[in-house]
Symmetry: D2
């Protein structure tokens, strides 16, 4: 992070990726935007909140078919033979575009956590695992979840995992509790990659493993949907799940016993960058709402925009957004240039920086709206809740600051 490496400072999108971006914008305009309102309206008033309305799936499947036709389907995935694909930097620009429409990613089969799960399966899965789970995921026939966080443990210390798995007669027997398992409420979700402790006597970073757990395995008990500021985001949800003597075949282990953290390296970098790019989209939206509100309301004979500190609030929001964008792009570039492992400090920097600052910007947009800002008349309260939650996802801010601060100390041999 010293500023020396010039390659890390070319943050422009590649020439090659631009046609993809344009195709994608066209797809959104033609296939996603037109279905969005109907899709979300159907979400209201269903008898079973934890199901999809058939028409919702029909709408989604239609858009997915169009994406397949136009060659956008699974664009996120590197070529299986050459290993080549979109650079993280180019993907960052694209994620920023996708972030503007909440349905867009799914129509292209690149929603979280499926992308991460597919990448993991692609890289470390056995042929049988790929056949059984990667294939239907790549086809968009099923969805998946990633079961990591536990209610009984401080999420800041990933080694704290208490869900256990032990081998018994050729089966892994899993016991424990996970929560905030996003997407596990979706009736289409069939498989969970589950972080467990298999080797309590190994060194601290070798005790964990990741295992494939079909969600319909006996003993998998979905207790409830966890809420985020009162919203449960049914039917996808953020599920609280209990594993009661859940038995899966020995071959469901990914990569190997004790290699759970190794697998995490694969998924976390890109996922965090995408989250951050979407957060920036939210920040841009909040700033736009703030400016439009401030410019169109009057008090004391002036627009609110011209009252008090409001112009400065807007200026500071713009400056921080632009600074965050450059930082996220540079972190993406660092993954391209240095590899995920070497780039982890860059990634932690943006993960610690972005959601916290975006929360502040959304909060200021709320303030500029008066009570309307916390109401159902603007998306701001929902946006705030989501960003606030992100400050815990993939480790709380404090953990990422620890990574960055420690790296800085290490430069001076002080850690």
């Amino acid at each position: 992070m010293s500023g020396n490496d010039q390659e890390l400072f070319n943050l422009a999108m590649s020439e090659e990726a631009r046609p993809l971006l344009h195709a994608l914008q066209k797809h959104i305009e033609e296939n996603v935007a037109p279905i969005t309102e109907e899709f979300f309206a159907l979400n209201e008033g269903k008898e079973d909140r934890w199901s999809w309305h058939p028409r919702q799936l029909e709408l989604l499947d239609g858009a997915k078919a169009k994406a397949k036709e136009s060659g956008l389907w699974n664009f996120f995935l590197p070529d299986a033979d050459t290993g080549e694909g979109l650079s993280n930097l180019d993907y960052a620009y694209i994620a920023s575009e996708l972030g503007k429409y909440s349905l867009a990613s799914e129509t292209l089969n690149c929603s979280a956590p499926d992308t991460g799960n597919m990448e993991v399966l692609e890289r470390v899965g056995t042929p049988a695992q790929k056949e059984k789970w990667l294939k239907p995921l790549l086809n968009g026939e099923i969805r998946s979840a990633y079961a990591m966080t536990e209610p009984g443990q401080a999420s800041s210390d990933a080694k704290n995992i208490s869900t256990t798995a032990h081998l018994e007669n050729g089966e892994w027997v899993i016991n424990g509790e996970k929560y905030y398992i996003s997407g596990a409420g979706d009736p289409r979700c069939k498989i969970m990659i589950t972080m467990v402790k298999t080797s309590p006597d190994a060194p601290a970073s070798k005790q964990q493993s990741q295992i494939l757990v079909p969600i319909d395995t006996p003993g998998v008990e979905i207790l409830e949907g966890m809420q985020v500021f009162g919203e449960d985001h049914a039917p996808r949800g953020h599920m609280h799940i209990k594993f009661n003597n859940v038995r899966v075949p020995e071959e469901n282990m990914l990569l190997g016993e004790g290699r759970g953290f190794e697998i995490s390296q694969v998924r976390l970098g890109p996922g965090r960058i995408h989250h951050c790019m979407r957060s920036l989209g939210q920040a841009e939206k909040a700033l736009e709402l703030m400016v439009n509100r401030a410019g169109s309301r009057t008090a004391f004979g002036k627009t609110i925009l011209k009252l008090g500190k409001n112009v400065e609030v807007i200026s500071r929001a713009r400056i921080e957004i632009d600074a965050m964008r450059l930082m996220v792009l540079q972190a993406a570039k660092a993954m391209d240039v240095l590899g995920n492992r070497e780039a982890r400090v860059y990634v932690s920097a943006v993960k610690a920086m972005v959601p916290e600052k975006v929360c502040v910007i959304i909060d200021q947009a709320i303030q500029m709206h008066g009570a309307t800002g916390v109401s159902q008349w603007t998306p701001l309260a929902t946006m705030y809740a989501h960003q606030r939650h992100l400050r815990f996802a993939d480790g709380p801010d404090e953990v990422h600051h620890m990574v960055v601060g420690r790296a800085e100390a290490q430069k001076h041999d002080m850690w």
Copy 2:
């Protein structure tokens, strides 16, 4: 606010009020605490969310009867003959106690906005108005609302009221729109004190009037419940109401045409103090949750309490809470010593100070809890939403800072 007036620095509760505080603590322990869980459980799963379950009302009425027996009923009201009653300072201590149990105030007939409405009726109501509305309010037979905020106007400028009323054949004809009218969803709510513009050609502060509008008057259209971070607090609610040629008798005017702001002086000071004391109760609760969480979770081999900045976060929360408490008590004392009008700068100071800082403290408690902090497993997200909303109630922070800053400038003849 110079610190000169020694009387303003004696912030201890009076000897006389202490027995009342003890009686109240006993009432809460014996009559309120035991019904709380059942009451709120009944709120879930009702067919009509905008109604009360009969058992809810039965529980409340029981506790109210007990309060009447023990002489605590309507204690907030000054003696009708002597005008004497609880000082604002003593009430502040009591409000702090009431704030710990969400049902406590109602069992004593001192919930907002009824207390403010009763005070207004007591002070400026005609005998007929008192007979018709004050009496049943004092008996706890009905409830009331205060219709002030409008969706189409910047709430920072109270003179912005656009709901109009004009006289026609001995009736006020009211047209306009109000929102976030708390309690107007309660089936027991029968009357709204409504701020309207009656005299558009008068000087800016003489254009507004307050009128009694029975909620069942034809033309009063309740459109929906406004949400606060996704919650609508049914059945009391924060209602969005349209006034379509609503006609009320001429004698429903309070105090007189154009005297709306004069009436506001009566109600706003004490109400804001009570809000702030309750906010401090919330801050204490958040701090307690934060400490208990931090002390009972471990990561990296230590309690979270001993990690990173957490002790300092706790220290800063404690310091700010204690400072806010002293400020709120001094504002209450200022109302006692200087009168509501002279004390308005003190009151604006605490209104600008408290909800903003309490939001920060609750937010830190959320952070200390990890994802559990935004879930339904702690009250923190709900508490945050409520405090965030308070930063708009009775004028946004910015308006109160304007009052305080301008007063400071005026001391130096600079405004």
Copy 3:
């Protein structure tokens, strides 16, 4: 700090102390204000910056004589027989008054660190120590210093003291280094109370002792005056001192070997309160300068006061100052009611709170002045430097937050 104890909420000055306050105001007006300008003018252009101009001492001595005549001399000291004296609360009000004139304290013999040193000698000194050092201090014939902080140790951990003293032939032999020893540059300074480590094998809090070291003892080497943002405050200075085999008689030990921290309890509480009250005086001064500047400059056709966030900045400064004042008064009251030991959490709270916030207020006053704010044309830069330094005096903010945060955790049995 729970708010329960009502006695802690009566923060008014006592009736008895008011005549003292008035006498003191009269003294300042008649004897201090008139000599201030000449005194400080004489400080410029002396050949030896580390001396006083004879006329400076003449002016001071004149005012001191007047204070003796009017019975104000040594008012800070409790009555030797009855132990009674000014309460900490009353003293806080008086310190606030004294803080407005930089010469006032010295004319009444109540400057730091002499007051603390005299209190220590009064309470723990032997008759011989009192005769030799307390008497001339009480008479204002000499001045004193307190040698605690060391350049080679983190000041946050008081147990870190590395200056050693060991007994040799009936003498303590002292070796080590101290810095920021305020007042030790004053030619009138004759004695230093010096914190040393005498018992390295004792438990951590019993290793330190305080010893009387005459400043002219051989081996006491004054290396230089430490600066605070470039100012050295000659001739009193903040001296960097080396102790090279400094030998003092065995009987110069205060209270007893290993009891150094016990003595610290005596001095620190009141001293910190007085610092904080003076800091508040500085904050009031900064706010006054800010308002007057903002109200008298124009830009873009308005006074600066009415531009941007400035009114809100002023409001926030006023609110924070008032809150800090109440907190400092309550800490003083806590010392009166609970004793210094029990009140230490209150004292740490204000020590952590006040200088940091006052720095912010002065910084905002600087911003409101443009470049003039950092120039010699306002006292703001000097005030800032002084307050910034205070964030380290008697332990850095972090240590005091640790005291407060830990006490909060202990309430819940979490530490």
Copy 4:
């Protein structure tokens, strides 16, 4: 600032500029570093603080001769014929390098405000003006000043200039007062570009002109050196100057009457970028000091680095520095791609962002050092004072936030 224009995201240094950077690093190492200590030591103890010691000039001249030999002299200036030169982006990288050695710029003839003054003369000067002033400046024979800020006017409003000039018998007669005129104390400073009001009846932005005023013109009265937190930076100084009927020939007008603001556009963009790059150098220095201190001091049995919030403080500093660097580079690139005029919002963004955040970082480094942080033993207090002053230079933060906030509103047609 929307992120659309891909060209603005390539922030890497050009291939062509790299040899220059290397030559410059070599020059610094061989010719600047070796003379630095002696140069600054000579600055102490001179009889006339407002002069140079002959040996100081000798040292400087030696290094300047070397720079001429190696072709680095005047590298900042675009080629007179082709107009081509270093891009702003490349210059930003170089400024960052120059910022590490306070003497480096002068040895290359690219110190402020000479570079700005030379650029102005190059672009708008008449042949006679160039012959008389630009030539000796380019040769490094004289130095210059820029007289803009006035003590009597709010610096936030550039149109507030009150120094007047009117034509009388073919001469401009100038009256008024300027302060913080950096470098005007240098005995080698011969010429000041002076902003004056010539056309009070013209539209607000056409009233100002810039005139060449030789510093030895009768009536130019240097009153004193303005201080920055107590330092006056003699002999270059920040001078307070009075213009008493100062008469200069009519042909000393630059560009034309009423075109003063037009000229400002030329100079301000690059100058601000260079300031910001140097500020980042200071922030890196502060961070390095902070880490080294925190890693090498112990308290409570650990390095300070591992106590409390310190790692997070370090992390936040690193993140902010990296974000600021990218923003400054992008602003430089914007000047290259869009031109100074279109890039002004980018430039205001970094001017508002950088010095404020750098002050915070230096302040935290001070805190990590204990009292040593405000002493003469670290450069931190001086660095803080300088950065604090920068928050006013070329307009206070508030003015730049106004530029950015207004531009944001204009995107939505809200201004």
